[in-house]
Symmetry: C4
Subunit: 503 residues, 4 copies
Amino acid sequence: MTALVLSQRGLLGDEVAKHNNNNDCWVIIHGKAYDVTEFLPEHPGGSKIILKYAGKDATEEFDPIHPPDTLDKYLDKRFHKGPVDMSTVETTAKEDDPEEAARQDRIARMPLLEQCYNLYDFEAVARQVMKRTAWGYYSSGADDEITMRENHTAFQKIWFRPRILVDVTEVDTSTTMLGTKCSIPFYVTATALGKLGHPEGETVLTKAAGKHDVIQMIPTLASCSFDEIVAAADGKQTQWFQLYVNKDRKITERIVKHAEQAGCKGLFITVDAPQLGRREKDMRAKFSDIGSDVQKSEDPDAIDRSQGAARAISSFIDPGLSWKDIPYFQNLTKMPIVLKGVQRVDDVIRAVDHGVTGVVLSNHGGRQLDTAPTGIELLAEVMAELRQRGIQDKIEVYIDGGVRRASDIVKACCLGAKGVGIGRPFLYAMSAYGEKGVSRAMQLLKDEFVMNMRLIGARTIDELTPDLVDTRGLNVHTVPIAPDTLGNHAYDPLVSPAFKAKL
Amino acid sequence: MTALVLSQRGLLGDEVAKHNNNNDCWVIIHGKAYDVTEFLPEHPGGSKIILKYAGKDATEEFDPIHPPDTLDKYLDKRFHKGPVDMSTVETTAKEDDPEEAARQDRIARMPLLEQCYNLYDFEAVARQVMKRTAWGYYSSGADDEITMRENHTAFQKIWFRPRILVDVTEVDTSTTMLGTKCSIPFYVTATALGKLGHPEGETVLTKAAGKHDVIQMIPTLASCSFDEIVAAADGKQTQWFQLYVNKDRKITERIVKHAEQAGCKGLFITVDAPQLGRREKDMRAKFSDIGSDVQKSEDPDAIDRSQGAARAISSFIDPGLSWKDIPYFQNLTKMPIVLKGVQRVDDVIRAVDHGVTGVVLSNHGGRQLDTAPTGIELLAEVMAELRQRGIQDKIEVYIDGGVRRASDIVKACCLGAKGVGIGRPFLYAMSAYGEKGVSRAMQLLKDEFVMNMRLIGARTIDELTPDLVDTRGLNVHTVPIAPDTLGNHAYDPLVSPAFKAKL
Amino acid sequence: MTALVLSQRGLLGDEVAKHNNNNDCWVIIHGKAYDVTEFLPEHPGGSKIILKYAGKDATEEFDPIHPPDTLDKYLDKRFHKGPVDMSTVETTAKEDDPEEAARQDRIARMPLLEQCYNLYDFEAVARQVMKRTAWGYYSSGADDEITMRENHTAFQKIWFRPRILVDVTEVDTSTTMLGTKCSIPFYVTATALGKLGHPEGETVLTKAAGKHDVIQMIPTLASCSFDEIVAAADGKQTQWFQLYVNKDRKITERIVKHAEQAGCKGLFITVDAPQLGRREKDMRAKFSDIGSDVQKSEDPDAIDRSQGAARAISSFIDPGLSWKDIPYFQNLTKMPIVLKGVQRVDDVIRAVDHGVTGVVLSNHGGRQLDTAPTGIELLAEVMAELRQRGIQDKIEVYIDGGVRRASDIVKACCLGAKGVGIGRPFLYAMSAYGEKGVSRAMQLLKDEFVMNMRLIGARTIDELTPDLVDTRGLNVHTVPIAPDTLGNHAYDPLVSPAFKAKL
Amino acid sequence: MTALVLSQRGLLGDEVAKHNNNNDCWVIIHGKAYDVTEFLPEHPGGSKIILKYAGKDATEEFDPIHPPDTLDKYLDKRFHKGPVDMSTVETTAKEDDPEEAARQDRIARMPLLEQCYNLYDFEAVARQVMKRTAWGYYSSGADDEITMRENHTAFQKIWFRPRILVDVTEVDTSTTMLGTKCSIPFYVTATALGKLGHPEGETVLTKAAGKHDVIQMIPTLASCSFDEIVAAADGKQTQWFQLYVNKDRKITERIVKHAEQAGCKGLFITVDAPQLGRREKDMRAKFSDIGSDVQKSEDPDAIDRSQGAARAISSFIDPGLSWKDIPYFQNLTKMPIVLKGVQRVDDVIRAVDHGVTGVVLSNHGGRQLDTAPTGIELLAEVMAELRQRGIQDKIEVYIDGGVRRASDIVKACCLGAKGVGIGRPFLYAMSAYGEKGVSRAMQLLKDEFVMNMRLIGARTIDELTPDLVDTRGLNVHTVPIAPDTLGNHAYDPLVSPAFKAKL
């Protein structure tokens, strides 16, 4: 260990700056220096991204990916080098980044929040104003993103059969999920890395949810710590906890008990992620970001671990989790247990047999296995089977994925869902407009929801019944044959009448 | 009340101009000043649009949205400030509006009427020459406009089975609707705010309809007054009346009786609009129009009421209307009663049970509930059920929505419709070319209709039978899976032979 | 009648030029002057197009539309003004027509004939090098051209079930149609106005067909006279005659007998054209062509007769033709009679009952009734019904429409067609490359045909059986729901790896 | 024979250069001169391409198309003119070829290998960096390339039914094909002319396959000689041999025995190519390449033999091959025999009856008969029939065509395939990045495969069972009706909120 020159306020910047390579690598995080040389090869996100900041302040890059207490918890004390006198750290004048300049220009010209009339609008704005890497992490799906996109379009395969001449003066959208009352049958589902979109991370969602009496599911992989998210709640609002089961069950045990004590009203165990999916949009965004340091690698088969944010944060998840573990969780907590990511009818039956409280029919937002079925399509199959067996009341069935309109939620409720999870749209609203954005997104959904109920002729959630929807096309996955290139080229399209030429 | 300086010809312009703000707001309409300060918060179209004209002449903006007698009827007399000497009113030199200049240029270069060969052509021209806000109101549909567009494409799912070697020298297209003879089985359906498209509003449609022996349905929400529209008729032509039921049944009673006395031959009660749908194209057009006054609002959840023309005019409609009210209307009038906007087979059966004369299978031009079924698709289901029960003659079934070709009408007739309503296409023809436009649109439909009957081998409307159409694909709603982005990018399309390069 | 100044070689140009208006209109055709004043209102193509040439030489415009003997046959002798001294006729220096100049430039840069590898290629070239009006006439279809395009794509709904390990060293594509041997089961079907595409008109097709032992069907509405087309044959080749039945049966009788005497081996009576269809592409092309003379018409309802070439030439066709007329034709001629344009299964049965030799399942190239069924789809239904009744050998079934590949013909043969008519592709080949073009088009089809038979495992036409094709999707007419505009806009497509930026 | 001036090191360049025409044509190949005058008309690739090099060095053009020993084997010795002093051969300064310059520029800017995340990426890069003619040969398919593209998209018609809560800590992808163990159920299938993509040709694939324990099928039409490819193997790896049966069975006998002696573990007899298909992309690329010498041909019907590389190399293939020949092969070799290119269910049954070891359900990469069925679709039908008859274990069923994702392979295994052949993707990886590219492509597939198994809940190949896939849409070939041109033009699409204008 080198002798250190310590100023009164801590290490000097140029001292840290010497440790700037593969064999001797320090970084500064929140004003403290850490020696991460030995940790480099183990970094889940790859060593390259750290080396980019070797000898420098890495806080900005570090923050959205890591819970605030990461280094203090996981890095051996002997590598904690102590505080740095930040006034002595050379702030690398940001290189001229034309892409970033263009982004800042777009931010300056953002549409007003009032111009967002639906959830797509937040997404369209966020796409323009978010950093490319953050956008890449939020917006990406598995492989060809077929399932991700089908999640959305599947709802358009369901058509309404609206009832007329019903007195719909009063409409009540409130419902109960896992025993808790809430204002409307959707909830904020768990999504990772909230600080990629907003400096205050998931607490932004918490506040908007509280305001609208909407339930929030707290993610294991939040940027904020669990406690911060709980603290942001208003004391009356309901929160659930989403769990990635750790290979180390002790850790799992600790966080589940902690969640229960903090008042969480449901435990959602993710069962569709024994391994995280490949999300190439994320990988490509990440690659560009660290591309400047990259040399042609010697061994092309050494698939680099720098595969986007997703891979970086998920290496602890246990691929060995199985049905045998369910009783363990049932003993561990009194929270109602819901399996999140069920994808087959017979696995729902099995869940009933195991006595869990609920299932979320979900493909993880299309981020795991491409051409996995959509929640809404599976819902129709599942409810038919449950009703056939007379066990439709033995389990609460939720879905998530692809919701963009309140009519999507109405359709799910008609088919038998207790509630619907919404993830990305709120992230986009948050990333573009902060808490006000999320709040407006929720209000738009509520307005649409009331209108839809009126127009479909239903006054309460109970009145949303299967006969109000036409699902005949739901299980049809149409793939047109390839375009008729030569025929289309030769064909001369019809035209509208021509305006006279300009003078 | 301020002391007023009255010139001989009325108030002076600069006097009115002082009342130009939130707390003291006058406007001039048709040469008269009104104090609308107290009315501002109640204006169904929002206060912003009024404040834009505070202290100024608002006639041009006012006219298309409001029946001519609105202020005199609804604004307390004490706010009527009397006539204004219009020569003293500063005519605000229209700001340089490049968009409006471009529109005027397009108008100058409009195609000749003779170049319009079909109903799409009027739409294509109108889109270019109408004001954006007017176009936004006419052309918009609910949410993602899926139903609106399906209305049109649904007809393309029906294929003919034409009969050959029938002597079709003579073809008779005349038919009877609600007991009245007319030249052809389509009618002008009710649409709101005709003056957005043409200064003479709905009377333009009346005159063209009279000329062609086509029935017109008079809308509740016309820009012209009911009496003006009746007066524009030629004395022999048939008119029906479309009714939005008012929360205040007294008003409803009055206008229904008035319509009957004026000679209307049918009462069409709209049943698909307990709340008006969200039409974002309209909202967006409106927003831009008043955008210059807009500041970032403090409360983002306060969804502004300035949601386009549609919302502004519909707040009186009763969401409590139900089957129980039907006998009330049957007692109120001797006009045949038709329910407009029926959307389920069992509601048609219920209509038969209630003894109404007819139903219009309609989704309100796709302006109410998105992914509601199309009239033409529902028609096939309805007629099958009615025939099954042997009650197909107990009710007259109409449809509307999406008609662009006479073949669409022929298909509906083959399936059992008594008639087909057409709305937007005539509005577009009117907006672009006035009465001559509407008349040509009707003539084109007639010519197409005769041709279609010849080519299908039918000589009279009665000969339009179900066996002449193939509806096997009608209830299939195809949603292709998402485009294969990577595959398509890698694929190298076939090409036609290359011309030699230019020298 | 005016006194005429006759030069030794005929009328002087400036004398003719005086008769240049509505009330006194002469035109020069092939060096002779005609007074067409009285004929103007009766001209099937409208008066405008004649007035454009009033007092001038109209030969170039006249030729493709009219058989050479038209005026001498149909215009009263007293209006024949005699020969004109063409050296005295002012040849109007063609106005600078940038469109025509661009076309001439494209002609100069045409791809070599050897670069055309398939029938689309001729179409792609013809589209660029033909005059717009000629292209408009050939390429247009009815209304939205849905049926016209479906004619082509319908074949892509049929998939092969190829047989392997068949010795296909020798493949024989010859067959027999209406009792005549020919080299391959396709024929040149009747199409009108050949001189629009090539100065030698239909005789170009005759020569190529003769060379390839392909049967040609001679059209009633040819640009060349019937006798010219027969004379162009090589004496051994087979020709059929296509008949539009004239309201004046005497004329019909005369031309049928003439065709029989000239050796035609089949009479194809067109039964799908009691009225000609609306072809808007043709109408639009025509309109532009005569647009310079057009003023805003006074009466917008007076749908002008200038509706493209199609309408102009068809006014004589009898809409009263019916099944009752069939025996008349059977008495009139010994030629086998085939009904061209049958479009329903039961009409095929009726044709069998009437004892005709064959039917052509056809929708007139998609030029008559839009959303009429395609020949190939109908073929599958028809043959199933005929086989069901055991009468599949009582009638020869042909189809036409949309053929672009030999595989299309193979598919039709597998389903039971005796032969397949091809029209437009040969017109395009002729228009672009003349006789050599048509000959190459036929050779390409032959080459493809042999290859297809080898690859499908069939050695003779008889071995083309229904089990070689999969038609499960044939009767499905898919109309996807409207594009998801907002969703697609918000979605960020996957991309291929980026090349480095250019320096 | 001319008297030759021989330098010490061989013929002088200008001596050879004299023989530069149709009647006297020499070419230099690998430093030796050959008189090919008499051979010109027989050249399978047409004479034009040779004449382009008359009197010159043709090595570069010759190499990828011809196995190295071609001339020595097939050209009579008297035409071998002996070695040339290459220092005396004028190296024609390559003409300025802007297309080639652009390609070289693209090569200089190629993405890093690490940026390729999936098999499409190699294809996208190869398309930019390959020579147009090489790309044309590899990438082209038959006719409209419908089958070629369906091969790929067919996999997207199959959706997963993933099983959750299975302990997938350990996943084993190894399997057995034709009795040989290998690491994963895909193999490198036979493709021709490897040197078009890489100077070392097929040996590049051999090395990568060896490294990954993947089986390689050696093609008859390799650029490298069979022995070179065997020599490139590592001694332990498995190779199969693909056979085009020669009209001269002696040749076939010789090469089959040679392959067996060299250790090949399977004989794949191609049965779908009695004649090679038309691949117009290849023909067009070839045409351009030799276009400069081409004059308008006198006889347009003389379809030139220069129809791309495919035709040039296949003239020896026997179209007479039939089921009768199977016992001959069974006597000829002890290698397991597999029929490659089976396309009907009943032909698989017939294969079982003939006692062959396996079949490959294949349409030759979509290069033979367009609208032939895809392997994956046929697989579902075949396995159902085999199971129905209880003979699913009597034959090994393989498929190839269109594989781009490991999920495609997983789906095929679920449906019952023993293995899946991959061709073009490895050629593209090789052409763009050489052996490292192929190796990375294989590694990516392996990574995806493991991930897919985890996410679907399967630990071994045996656990890939039919219930894990939803194939309801597999046999649906959707061809949407033609686009609604006029309707789409008139429709005004919804838009996202507008950003403020740039200043």
